[in-house]
Symmetry: D2
Subunit: 250 residues, 4 copies
């Protein structure tokens, strides 16, 4: 029986900053590691270690100024890695378009998706009849998948390497699995890339599922750096789901 | 009834070379546009317009030397665009991992996949029983897809924008469509990227379907530049399918 | 005696488009190769071959719409290669920051910059006294460069490989050569990258020299595709030099 | 009087790893943050949390296997940021070619290079006569630079904005500054990029100065992850300088 999978996103790695010797500067105590690093990189371009401009003396004011004037290259120094589970293969396909990220994706060729986790689209999950229709269709597809798998392994009996045989059977049989099948990712990106991803996918026009992912990423990254994502405005749509926009990225 | 789709790859754009004024050099007449451009870029780095080295005087010798010493950056000046049809969504997912390409992919959110083209994996197509089982399962999935689509559009009657309603219904309903569903791509890449793609995916260890795509790309690009792909050795596997390798890329 | 070098930019390669078989569509006759390819890629995403929308039926209207809604990924399919001479090393350093380009640069380690071409900044060239002061200083630096080169080759007499000895001497001696020393590039980029480069460097705030380069690139690329660069507005600054901006890229 | 600048490289940021909840796995205690993260990403692709393969059960064995089979994409999850001072502008130009890095470079247009730091090439520094000749030529160039700067600011008196005037004068006057002028960088890269940089620039054929930089980066990164750089073999050349190679990257 198909198992319904929920989106689960966790931060598993982030940038830690250490001040070098020989530079007479320190970040504000309120600044997170990412925020201190970005300010450091900005000041290194102009050697303004003594914070000569009173308007940008504070870390948050400096970072807001960077975003305001579009020095986005500075945001590339801070990175964050998220572990994403409970995403459908079709949303995963959209995520992969963001090529500045580094991805490690759960392999459908190697891992037997036996437990049968699927991501049910909200519009279907909300309607009990459609939900049942959908899950039954998933079960049917998985039943055929398992039949194909067994028959293919038998057909390939001539292949003596059991591991290779299983892999070849799996990569053919998976052709019947639905878009809704769960996939998982380790995704690493710098803050410029995360901001671009969120701006593109938290928009009202994005697919519901990837929009929910973008909103979740924004929430997590804001804990890492409240200031560097402070320009995003989160609001609620008529259907109760969330969207986010920033005036700086369209 | 599901329609079986065949891989179809065509070259739709390629680099055309024009010699600038003020440079006392000309490519060999045998050189294609891509080959002349790559030699030009190489000679521009060292201003060896007069072809001082007799061993690399000929265009093909010059290019083989470039590949041999690993000056792969020169191969980035020549580009080619292929139009790919008859690829499954799962193979498309693998293709998208090659992020140095530029992609335009057929949208599953906007285009109603009514005709129902699917790519049947070779291992399934070869066994008439499995083929029938597979196609029937595809038809079942498509039947549920159409039911979901109709019901979702009805559920969303409150959404007055018909276009938006159709799109929202489509992006939920597509969740039941199988991996085998056909997708299409316009793919642009420079020769360095095409070579890396072919080396990675024409290998014995690659999935059958993307391996067939890589071999097809190699055949087409060799017409554009016999020399710049001359190091790839194509051979036949036990199952009659093809693979290709080059000693220069692993 | 130092030779003053002038900026020289020429198109040496560009995308040529061929319509694939099996697609019932043709571009307007007015469309250039780049323009036809970008429209083709856009229509391939939605399979709108029959041009259903009367407002975007014409090639130029379609492309303006793409730029207007920000489907910039489509602009990655068309590429152009420029051969740039008469650029200073310092402007070259700025050009290299645009990492989406592919570069082949004249090697200062391999090529003896004997003729002594330099790029004199406009602000210096305009004042005859400063121009003379500058060129004399360049000559002095080149004189020391030649002295260093000779002495270093002598010091390295133990190195029996004459080519290697010359290279090692050259890479040390060049340390005294000024920023103004001429460099040359073969640069390949897709239209999205060229547009981003021009938007960043044709701006009023850019360095004079790279701004002049950006304006020259814009003029040349407009011949390749009047429509895909039609949003750039060129104007004249108080000093008579040109700048360009587009509302679509900041 | 010109000040001789020494290469100074410091680690200022690196990846910190946190295990997510819901995964029954832990890295070996010996593993550094980068090493634990890379193993995690690898196991996430195959869900081999229970370490089924005894040969790759230990973190270091797992990572060596990754490098051995070429799963380099996993190395993109760990990043490190170095602050580099005491590099010449010409070596900086070479560094900029490694476009997968993110760079923040000291601005020659904004920062008055008054103190006059220069990087003296080893081959010149070793010969007292050449060293003196070189430093005197640097002083001459800087003298002309200061003359040009003063005269240009005077010529631009019509420009009422003092900051803009200074910038315009500076960007013209810097044309006479030598390649040897010191530059500084904040450089962020993932381990795949750092490995490619070191493999390319620690080679015997690289320029002396950037080779020394590559060796220094290798030493620092090995402290972050002994295993992920363990395949590099460091050796000494006839002139006493160091080089490094790995069988995995050419």
């Amino acid at each position: 029986m198909a198992v319904e999978s929920e989106l689960d996103v966790q931060l598993i790695a982030a940038t830690q900053f250490t001040l070098p010797t020989g530079v007479d500067w320190a970040a504000d105590e309120t600044a997170t590691d990412a925020e201190a690093l970005v300010e450091f990189a900005g000041r290194a371009c102009y050697e303004t270690w003594e914070k000569p401009n009173p308007h940008t003396r504070a870390n948050d004011a400096y970072l807001r100024h960077i975003i305001d004037v579009g020095h986005d290259a500075l945001l590339e120094h801070a990175t964050a890695t998220l572990y994403i589970r409970g995403l459908s293969r079709s949303a995963g396909n959209e995520l992969l378009r963001h090529r500045h990220f580094s991805f490690s994706q759960l392999s459908q060729r190697y891992v037997h998706s036996g437990a049968g986790e699927v991501v049910v689209p909200d519009a279907i999950a909300e309607d009990e009849d459609l939900r049942r229709l959908f899950l039954r269709a998933v079960d049917d597809a998985r039943f055929v998948h398992d039949e194909l798998l067994a028959a293919l392994e038998e057909n390939m009996a001539a292949e003596s390497n059991a591991l290779l045989r299983a892999k070849k059977a799996r990569q053919a049989a998976r052709a019947i699995l639905p878009n809704a099948t769960e996939t998982r990712f380790v995704v690493t990106g710098n803050y410029r890339t995360w901001r671009a991803f969120i701006a593109a996918r938290a928009s009202e026009h994005a697919d519901t599922e990837i929009r929910a992912l973008a909103i979740r990423c924004l929430e997590i990254l804001r804990e890492q750096s409240p200031v560097l994502f402070s320009d995003f405005l989160v609001s609620e749509l008529a259907d109760g789901s969330k969207m986010a926009t920033t005036p700086y990225l369209s």
